[in-house]
Amino acid sequence: MSMNTATQTVDTVDASEIAKFEAMAAEWWDPHGKFKPLHEMNPVRLDYITTQIAAEFGRDLTADKPFEGLRLLDIGCGGGLLSEPMARLGATVIGADAAERNIPVAKIHAEQSGLEIDYRHTTAEALAAAGEQFDVVLNMEVVEHVADPLAYLTACRQLLKPGGLMVCSTLNRNPKSFAMAIVGAEYIMRWLPKGTHEWSKFITPDELYDLIRNAGLDPVDRKGFVFNPIAWSWSISDRDLSVNYVTASIKPA
């Protein structure tokens, strides 16, 4: 009888924790909820990532599970908005997030989606120190938040196998990006909580290329993610890297 009660107490605690994480997962994945801007941007991010991976590793995106056999790390995985698509395309995915609360949330959603993803509360530096190696490292909208970008990108290089691919996106630093990303996104549109970004930490494309080279990687491509407020849609641009942009880099063999 007493054992029963004890078990029940544990179950009750677990159940309420799980309910909380389920609610957070639902919030992360609600296309019209708090993370709406991220969901709206996700198709162009995925288009860029999938095209780069397919080109680098000779995969056919029209095939079923084209990324089978590739080991991929998603740094700053959040609720798994990039990890899940990569797993669905067949990659073996490790999702890492420095925010501990994101891990159970991402795990619960992956389970609901029927996907196997290894989510860990850890950092790029810790994974590199443990000697982990990947074919692909996704480094999306992280570098503008770290204290030492060069040390961070060096850890990313260590995480790549020779010939491996890093996709890194961030925000440009100029008057337009200040207007769009800080004033527009945080204050006017309320897309992001105020204080999400520190404009002084934004990096220009040339600065990022230099950082990537200094970290020992070869940058091979850069494109802009451009938001059109009239069509209310994102597109990939060869020339307009003025606010959001993305790069692809290879670790020399």
């Binding site: 996700n42 079923d64 669905r88």
Partner: protein, 408 residues
């Protein structure tokens, strides 16, 4: 998480099978729930029904590998002549003339009989391992939740999939069961449809006469045959439909004129009450509507099937692109991309055909003069005329890849 098929398509007409075949090219499996029995679909006798396929629709059928087998049965529309007319009178002095030689893409459309198009779609579906055709099946219930979509059929069978697509026509049960309401109105007109044979060759010319009661379209079929679509008030149409064939032809002859010699019936006669009915939403959780289930427009410009195939091309492209990105294509934000793509086009077409019909379906002498002058004006401006042709051929706007003749 395993489903009977990725997509459950309700409706075995033309759009449903076309969607199933389009999705299969992107590795997306489907089940097509068809109310009609197999032998009805397979019948090869001409029942009088045919379609005007816009150039974009022809390109789509090519992309799906169907056009090679259809082309020999299709009649290219080389010219379109539109004129204002009253029964027993000759055409008005001003009339519109669209010639395919004015655009570089080739014939602006083709006429194809239902029996050929239907059987080509059916044959391709049956040969495709990714498609399960379920003839003689009625849906009685549907439900969706976070894990998938389920249908219950009249014989008690149950089916599960990622999403349900309603391709079940103007009175879509799929839309109704999902609680999607419709907006629309009755035109007070019924379309009379039949095929006729005639003495003289039509030379690939389609005619549209704007009569007081409504438009009369004469669309060329292979040989000395034409498909006729003509509109009358509901009451008058019912009277005409009740006549025997000889009396029916007596009503048609003065409207038709004698420019193709003597005429006779070459198939069954049909009537379709004309109304505009647009679903208030084209998508819901795990559900999308295509074709007339989304938008039944006035068939004045023969754009019903063409609009439907554009839906098919757009939905297939949205789902295929999502799948290739690794997205869960059943998510509402993915389906909403289809809705926002198709909504504008649909509204524009509905308003255009509606206004066109209101302008032309009356005997107001002032309007009659105005439209004669208008037609003359369009006729005298090649640029504007070319725009009309490209619009009718489905070459304008954000055209889905399949309708450009490209693979998904």
């Amino acid at each position: 998480m395993t489903h009977d098929a990725d997509v459950l398509i309700v409706g075995g007409g033309l759009n449903g099978p076309a969607l199933a075949l389009s999705l299969a090219t992107a590795g997306i499996s489907s089940a097509v729930i068809d109310a009609l029995p197999e032998d009805t679909r397979e019948s090869d006798t001409f029942d009088g029904r045919s379609y005007a396929l816009a150039l974009a629709s022809v390109r789509m059928l090519s992309a799906l590998g169907l056009w090679d087998g259809l082309e020999d049965h299709a009649q290219p529309i080389l010219e379109i002549k539109a004129s204002d007319g009253r029964p027993g009178e000759g055409p008005a002095p001003f009339f519109l003339h669209f010639d395919h030689a004015e655009i570089e893409e080739g014939p602006m459309g083709h006429m194809i009989e239902d029996r050929y198009l239907r059987r080509a779609l059916l044959g391709a579906m049956d040969a495709n391992p990714q498609i399960t055709h379920m003839p003689d099946s009625m849906v009685t219930a549907q439900e969706v939740d976070t894990t998938g979509a389920r249908l219950t059929l009249a014989d008690g069978r149950a089916l599960s999939g990622q999403i349900i697509v309603g391709a079940d026509g103007r009175r879509s049960g799929t839309a109704e069961r999902a609680g999607i309401k419709r907006t629309g109105w009755d035109y007070g007109q019924t379309a009379l449809v039949c095929a006729i044979g005639h003495e003289l060759p039509h030379n690939g010319i389609a005619h549209q006469f704007f009569m007081p009661a409504g438009p009369l379209a004469i669309l060329p079929l292979p040989g000395n045959r034409c498909s006729i679509v003509w509109s009358e008030t509901h009451a008058r149409a019912a009277e005409i439909q009740a006549l025997d064939d000889a009396a029916y032809l007596d009503v048609l002859r003065p409207r038709f004129g004698d420019f193709l010699g003597d005429i006779h019936l070459a198939g069954k006669r049909f009537t379709y009450p004309l109304n505009l009915t647009i679903a208030n939403a084209f998508v819901a959780e795990r559900l999308a509507l295509i074709g007339d289930a989304a938008h039944g427009v006035h068939p004045i410009a023969g754009q019903g099937l063409n609009l439907g195939l554009r839906d098919v091309g757009a939905l297939a492209e949205v789902l295929a692109d999502a799948k290739r990105r690794g997205e869960d294509f059943a998510r509402l934000d993915v389906l909403e991309r289809y809705q926002s793509w198709r909504r504008f086009d649909t509204a524009a077409m509905a308003v255009a055909t509606d206004a066109f019909n209101k302008l032309f379906s009356n005997d107001n002498p002032i309007l009659r003069v105005a439209r004669d002058i208008g037609m003359g004006a369009v006729q005298s401006m090649p640029g504007l005329r070319r725009r009309f042709i490209r619009e009718a051929a489905g070459l304008t706007g954000d055209v889905p890849r399949l309708l450009q003749g490209r693979p998904l």
